[in-house]
Every structure is written in C-alpha cells, then in structure tokens.
C-alpha cells in the first residue's frame, strides 16, 4: 500500500481516532489520540490489510522550542534556506507539529501545541509499507499506553523514552532508566535540559559526589 492508500484505509477504519494525517516526503503519518493508540496498534499488527509486524522505532520529540530557538550567531538569519527540488513531488506539505486538544477545546477553542509527541515507526514485512504514528501529549500529563504487550521490542524503547523525556508508559512492567543512571535528575533530551549540565557520579577528587 502506498502512503495515500494507507492513510485512507486507516482513516476509514478509525474515523474517530485519526486526528490528522500527512504524507510529507512520502512518509505515511497519522496523528492519533492516546486513548485510541492501543486499539489502533492492535489492529495494525493483526489486520490482514496492515500486517505491521515490526515496531521499528519508538521515540519522542519535545516540541516546546519548535521554531523558537534563539539564533546561535550574529547574522545567523542569513543562513541558506533550501527549497525542495523540482523533481520531488511536494504535494504533501508538512502541517506542522501535532496539536493536542486541551480543556478549552470543549468550548470551541483550537487545540493547543503539544509539548511531547511520541513517535512510532511501524513496518510491515509482508506488505512492505511503513507507517508513522504520532501521539501528542501535554506536558503535565505525559503518559501513554505501553505497547509492550504487542511488541516485545517496545520494552527497552519505552524505557529509553522515559529516561530521555520523562514520558510514562501505562502498563510497562519495568519502567526505569536505561541509558543514564538511577541517580540522574531530569531528562536530558527535554529541550529545557542544558546540554552540558553534568551530574557526575564521582567528583574530580575521586569521591562520590552528593546528589541530594
């Protein structure tokens, strides 16, 4: 199935769950609400039409400084912007970071920007198609259902997302840090974590440093 057909099939199958979709650069992408994630994932894995037997990747993006990064150098605005080449079809524009409906949405307000987006990359070996599923989350309620019951490989990937972003996975049996250490405070891939904020386990004098 190509990207457009895949998106259409999913939208027909899950009209309520699929909030938006795009196929930027040919990557089929759907944005779903976190409530619908587990059902959708189960269908993606089991349905004969999708057969997504691989969970290739599971990661997250912190969109809190998207487009707001301070310019890093004087005259930096004069960087070289590049338009896509004419050979490549650009009929699928990128709609921007996924948004999450907040409490005000019930009153008709537009959905606000999501701080975190959990990104799943699925691949179907029999049908050779790929799908990206994005689940936007709010900062103060960063929790999503775990898919470890469907793909064993999700176990470590979800632990890594917890470690790096502080997003919790409901139903994960062993959600603890994986790349950093237990004493580490904070989540390094969040945009508000300074790149060189060190938390040494032992200090320069060779003694254990205090982590209180």
């Amino acid at each position: 199935m190509d990207a457009a057909a895949l998106i259409q099939a999913l939208t027909e199958r899950f009209p309520d769950a699929v909030r938006s979709s795009h196929a930027y650069r040919g990557d089929a992408t759907i944005v779903v609400s976190r409530e619908a994630l587990l059902d959708l994932a189960r269908a993606l894995k089991g349905d004969a039409a999708f057969q997504m037997n691989f969970l290739m990747d599971l990661t997250a993006v912190d969109f809190s400084t998207f487009g707001k990064k301070p310019s890093s150098a004087f005259f930096a605005s004069s960087g070289v912007a590049v338009r896509p080449s004419a050979e490549l079809p650009d009929e699928h524009p990128w709609p921007g970071p996924p948004r999450v409906p907040n409490a005000a949405a019930a009153l008709g307000a537009p959905p606000g920007p999501a701080r975190f987006v959990v990104v799943y990359h699925f691949f179907s070996l029999p049908l050779k198609h790929r799908l990206r599923v994005e689940v936007p989350l709010e900062e103060n309620d960063a929790e999503v259902d775990s898919v470890t019951s469907l793909w064993a490989g999700a176990d470590w990937l979800e632990r890594e997302v917890w470690d790096m972003f502080g997003i919790r996975f409901r139903g994960h049996a062993n959600l603890k840090r994986i790349l950093t250490y237990e004493q580490f405070v904070g989540h390094p891939l969040r945009k508000d974590y300074p790149v060189n904020k060190r938390q040494p386990l032992i200090g320069p004098d060779g003694h254990a440093s205090d982590h209180s």
């Binding site: 896509p84 990128w94 490989g153 840090r177």
Partner: protein, 459 residues
C-alpha cells in the same frame, strides 16, 4: 516477569536436587569483562551452570549523540554519526546524509550513489570481519582473529585511500560525498578483495568444520523468527532465523536495486547460523562492490581531463594578493592531500545539483569570492543549510540491521531532533530471551554473535 526454565533434567536428578536444596546464584558479568567487547553489565541468575534469568544493564557509553546533534548544523552531525557504529562508520554516514537529503528534497548524481554503495559494502565487510573474528577469539580461535584483522587492515587501507581516514571518516556530505574515488581504486580494491577472500577461505577452513567451534555455536542463543520480529531484530541476526528481510532488497536505496546480490538466510536461528550468514554476506558484499565498480557511470575525471595547470592553493592566494592575476587565471588550485578527489571537475558527479547545500569545490573556496562566500555560508557557526520544516525517517541496511534516521527540522540551521534507530538496541533487548536456558559458557558466543557496538547501542 517470570520465565519458564526448560526442564531437561531426568526426574531422578530433579528429586536429588530437591533433596540437596540448591539455591540460585547471582553472577555479575561486566561492565569491564574480557568476554564483553563493549561495556555492558549482565546480572545472570544461575541454577548450577544454567542461566535462569538475566538482567541487562546498558548505557555505559551513553555520550549524548542525540542531544549533541541538536547543537550543530546539519553537516556537523556527520562526525558524530561516524562514532555510532564505529566498526562500519561509512554506513552511518550514508544513512544520515540520505535522511537529510530526503528532508531537503534533493537528489544526488548517479555516480555518487554508486560510490556510497561501494563504501557501504566495504564497511559492512570490515564490520563482519571484526564481529566474526572477535567472537571466534572469545571461543579460543585466536588465529582467526589475527587473520581477520589482517584482512580488515587491507580494507581500511582502501577506505583510507578514499576518505583520508582509517576509522572515523566523515566521508559523506549532505548532498554528496567529500571526494571522488581515487585513481587506481578498482585495481587496489581487487587486490584487497583477493587478500580478503584468502582470509575468508582460511577462516572458513579453521572454523566451519571445527568441532569445538561448531559444538559451542550450534544450538546456542536460539531465537525463533516470531520472537525475533517481535523484538524488532533486523539484519544478519534476523536473517539467521529464516526471515529474509534486508533493507537493500525490500526498500532499496541508492543503487542497490540495480545490483545483483543474494540475501543469505539461516534456518535455525542459532549462533552458528548467524556465523554462516555473516560469512556469506561478506562474499555478497564483495560481489556488490565489483558490480558497482563495473556499472558505475564514469566520472568527469575520465570524460574531460583537467586542462589547467596546477598550483598550490597557498601560492594561488599569495599571487592573488599581489595582483598577479595572469599567473592564476587558468591555474587549478591543488589543495591539501586529504582533500584529494574533491576538485571542481569531479564535483558534477559527486555532489547534488542543489549548490546551496553542498560545499563548493576547494579551488573555488580558495580561488574566488563566490566560492569563499558559499563556503562561509555553509560552515560558519550559526549558518549552514536550512531545510524546510518537516520530519522524515530514512532507513539503510547497517551491518547489524536496519539503521534508521528520524530527522525533524524546524527550519533552522541545526536539526531540531535527530533520532537514530540503532539496530543492536533491539538485539540487546532480546539478550535475556537468548541466553535463558543456556549454559553460562554459552553467553560468550551468543554475545559475540550479537555484535554489540556500544556507540550505537547507547549513543
């Protein structure tokens, strides 16, 4: 999570062990352990010599690749990608550059695709040589290790002649490669492959029917195809379980769709099959390189010989400063030896037509103001290419499996997010599954066949 232990003891023995009241023992392996090439900690629970449960602790080489990528420009990430899988850095380079090219929506010339295929396959060879050699060494076959490192040395000399570096090459660029293949590369390559083939034949003779090696490898570290897929395992590891998934065949990139090669597949999913798959893949890699060298479109190197006379770049600058324009008018700047192969006539075949992304030829950088400005605009801190906003995922076949790069751009000069899908992360997460039920001594061949690369696993 409770795990079931395969019960292969006779009832009488079980009764006797009940009477003896045996207890499980915890054995801590690593993080600095001779059999663990790479740093990882395995806490194994043992019942006698049998592994009942294993807890794997990683992250000892976490160096913040993804965070660092957010602080440098798009070309600046390339040196970091070298150090992800440092046994096959060129494949990482290719994967990252192709992901960014997809984001930018640019294409590269045909010859550049072929060059990328050639260097990727040479890298795959070095990776498999190291993996098979090191795992053989851990089982006592030290000679094989020495032979394989010898072959790797010949291939590294080849890599060095192309890229200027042995290991951390930073050869690919967004929109092309640093330089064209050097003159006489095909002959040099043929010679290196001859040596490699000899080493592979010798190693095959030493290992494949070696009783000790076969006994330790076959039947250990088994994983079924369903489990392997569920863990997201790819690459030779998955193929040894009988699933013929290869990114080069199933989602072809660069020029793999025009090259003929076979994907070796195992049947039993044990360490021995993984060894056999890797040995065969090395033969296939050499086959790919030979075809690519044959089919590659000729570069302008052959098409239009350089006419200008050569002049060292520094002298050109000096002549320019004193206003001696006639002296430099039809001269061609000769740059540093490490920049060999990146001269202007070669640029047409190795760099994208999108000139705003790719660094100008060195003689332009040193020779005229436009080239200098363009160079400046791309390399100076805070400048560099600014791709449109968007997100892409691009996968290549790394030496350990699918190596995917997920790049998000916010329209700025630094990537907003770079995520790498490390192939051995999935395999390592299946390690408890692989070793439970095996003997403690089987941990060594199983871990060797995983080919854990710390840089890629922990990033």
């Amino acid at each position: 999570m409770p795990r079931t232990i395969p019960d292969n003891s006779v009832p009488a023995a079980a009764a006797a062990s009940d009477a003896l009241e045996t207890r499980d023992m915890l054995l801590n392996v690593g993080p600095a352990h001779p059999a663990m090439h790479g740093i990882i900690r395995i806490v194994a629970r043992l019942d006698g010599e049998q592994i009942v449960d294993a807890d794997v602790d990683i992250g000892y080489l976490h160096r913040g690749f993804e965070k660092m990528s957010e602080t440098v420009d798009y070309n600046g990430v390339i040196p970091y990608t070298d150090r992800l899988n440092y046994v096959s850095p060129l494949i990482n380079n290719v994967g990252y550059c192709m992901a960014v090219e997809k984001l930018l929506g640019i294409s590269v010339p045909e010859r550049c695709h072929y060059i990328r295929v050639i260097v990727s396959e040479i890298s795959r060879l070095t990776d498999h040589l190291t993996c098979v050699g090191a795992s053989a060494m851990e089982l006592g076959a030290f000679t094989v290790f020495l032979y394989m490192i010898k072959a790797r040395e010949y291939l590294w000399e080849l890599v060095e002649s192309v890229t200027g570096a042995r290991l951390t090459v930073s050869y690919c660029r967004v929109g092309g490669v640093k330089a064209d293949l050097p003159e006489g590369f095909a002959e040099q390559c043929a010679k290196a492959f001859e040596e490699t083939r000899r080493v592979l034949a010798e190693s095959d003779a030493l290992l494949t029917r070696n009783r000790i090696f076969v006994d330790r490898m076959s039947g250990t570290g088994k994983i079924s195809a369903e489990d392997a897929v569920s863990y997201g395992i790819t690459g030779p590891f998955l193929r040894a379980s009988g699933v013929p998934y290869d990114v080069r065949k199933d989602c072809p990139y660069a020029s793999y769709d025009r090259l003929e090669f076979d994907v070796p597949v195992g049947t039993r999913g044990d360490n021995f099959d993984r060894y056999l798959v890797r040995m065969e893949e090395m033969q296939q890699s050499m086959r790919i390189v030979e075809q690519a060298l044959r089919d590659m479109p000729p570069g302008p190197f052959q098409a239009s010989p350089q006419t200008g006379r050569s002049l060292p770049a520094s002298e050109m600058v000096d002549q320019g400063k004193v206003g001696n324009i006639p002296a430099i008018r039809d001269a061609c700047a000769v740059t540093d030896p490490t920049l060999d192969g990146s001269a202007k006539p070669l640029h047409v075949s190795i760099a994208t037509a999108e000139k705003r992304v790719f660094l100008p030829p060195k003689e332009d950088t040193y020779g005229n103001i436009e080239g200098l400005m363009q160079h400046f605009k791309l390399v100076m801190y805070g400048h560099g290419a600014r791709p449109p906003k968007g997100e892409v995922y691009f996968a290549v076949e790394g030496a350990n499996g699918e190596l995917g790069f997920y790049v998000v751009s916010d329209g700025g000069n630094t990537p907003y997010r770079v995520r790498v899908r490390p192939p051995c992360f999935a395999i390592m997460s299946a390690l408890p599954k692989l070793v439970v039920g095996d003997m403690m001594a089987d941990l060594t061949p199983t871990f060797g066949s995983i080919n854990m690369i710390g840089g890629e696993l922990d990033r």
